[in-house]
Amino acid sequence: MTALAAEPVAARMRQRTPSIEARTTENGQPFLFVAPADLVLLLTLLRDDEDLRFDALMDLTAYDLLKYPAKAPSDAICAVWLLWSHVHRHELMVQTHAARSDCRLPTTSGVWPAAIYFEREVFDLYGVHFDGHPDLRRIMCPQDWVGHPLRKDYVYPATYHGVSHLRDGQHFESQPAREAR
C-alpha cells in the first residue's frame, strides 16, 4: 500500500480543476487540497483516470480547526476523503474545507455510493450539510439531538428528554455543566 505523491497528480489535474494544491500534513503525508467548487469534478476524474483509478472510498471524515488558529484556513471544518485503488494498489488523501457558519459541501455520493453513510456521519458529528445527498439524516445521535458533538465549540447537554445526564453533584471535566436545552 503506497501513498501516491500528490504533486504529479495535482499537475495532471490542474487544467480541469484549477484550485487544486499539493500539500503535506505535519507528519509528512501528501494530500490534495481543493476548493469545494471543484471537489466533485476532481473526485470523478480521480476515479475515472486510467492511471489513477481510485475505485474505492475508504473513508470520509472531517476535522475542526477551531483550536488551531495558526493553521490555514482557520475557523473552518475540513473534510477528508481517503481514496484507494484496487487496480493500482495506491492511496490518496483529498481535503477540502467549509466555513463553520455556513457549512455546506457538495455531495460525493454520486461518485461513490459508499459516501452516503459517511456523509451522514460527518453531518451528524460535524454539521456539514452535503448538498444533493439523497437522505441526509443523523446516523449515530438521536434524530432530535441538538448540536454536532465533535465540533470544538460543542456545549455538552445537561439533559436529554428530561433525564439528567450526570449523577448528583457531578460535572463534566472539560467544561461546566450548562442548563438544560
Binding site: 438521536p142 458533538p149 428528554h161 433525564v163 445526564h165 450526570l166 449523577r167 457531578q170 463534566f172 471535566e173
Partner: protein, 190 residues
C-alpha cells in the same frame, strides 16, 4: 408392599410433598430466572462467559430468552447511551411482573469511564429503570455476576414471602480474582 430394591425416598408414598400452590410457583420462579439476552458492550462478553462451561449459569436455572415477554430478569450489561436507554426502557416495559433488573458493570451503574468526558453516555441505567442489584467491575468477573444473581434470588424469595420488593438495591462487593489451579498467578514485582 415395600420393594427392598427401592432406594429411600423413591417409594411412591414418599414422593408426595404438600405445599401451597403459590409457594410452589414462587419456588419455581426463584429457581428459573430466565434472563433477557441483551448486552451492549464488553460486559456482554463476561455475560457470555458466565454462560460458558466453566461458570455455567444454566445450572442456576438461568436460560437466556430472546424476547422480553418471556424474561423475568434483565441484565443490563454494558454502556448505555441516551439513545439506547430509551430502548432499554421499552424492553423493560415489555417484561411481565415480577421483573428484575441487574445492573452489570461500571458503565450501567454510573457511566464508568465515560462518566465525565462523554456527551452521549447515560450515567447509570437507574435513571430509566429501577435496579435491584448493582455489580461493580469493569467488566465484572462471572463470579461477581453469579454473586449478584444469588443476591437477587434472595430478593425473589423475600418477594415470595412478603409480597414486598426491597427498595434498597443490593451492591455486590468487589471480588478478588481467584488464582486457582487454572489461573497462573502473576509474579510479584520486588
Amino acid at each position: 408392599m415395600a420393594d427392598p430394591q427401592c432406594r429411600p425416598g423413591n417409594a411412591s408414598h414418599e414422593q408426595i410433598h404438600l405445599t401451597a400452590v403459590d409457594e410452589f410457583l414462587a419456588w419455581g420462579k426463584e429457581h428459573s430466572l430466565f434472563y433477557l439476552l441483551f448486552a451492549t458492550a464488553c460486559c456482554g462478553i463476561e455475560l457470555m462467559q458466565a454462560g460458558g462451561p466453566r461458570y455455567d449459569i444454566d445450572r442456576l436455572g438461568m436460560i437466556p430468552r430472546a424476547t422480553p415477554r418471556q424474561a423475568d430478569l434483565m441484565i443490563v450489561a454494558g454502556t448505555i447511551t441516551h439513545k439506547m436507554a430509551e430502548r432499554v426502557k421499552l424492553l423493560w416495559d415489555q417484561m411481565t411482573e415480577p421483573r428484575w433488573v441487574v445492573s452489570m458493570g461500571s458503565c450501567a451503574n454510573s457511566g464508568g469511564p465515560f462518566s465525565k468526558w462523554s456527551y452521549s453516555v447515560l450515567n447509570g441505567i437507574d435513571k430509566y429503570v429501577p435496579v435491584d442489584v448493582y455489580i461493580p467491575g469493569c467488566p465484572p468477573r462471572p463470579e461477581a455476576l453469579i454473586d449478584g444473581v444469588m443476591a437477587l434470588r434472595e430478593r425473589v424469595r423475600l418477594y415470595r414471602t412478603t409480597g414486598q420488593r426491597t427498595k434498597t438495591p443490593h451492591v455486590v462487593a468487589g471480588i478478588e480474582p481467584a488464582f486457582g489451579a487454572h489461573h497462573e498467578k502473576p509474579e510479584q514485582k520486588t
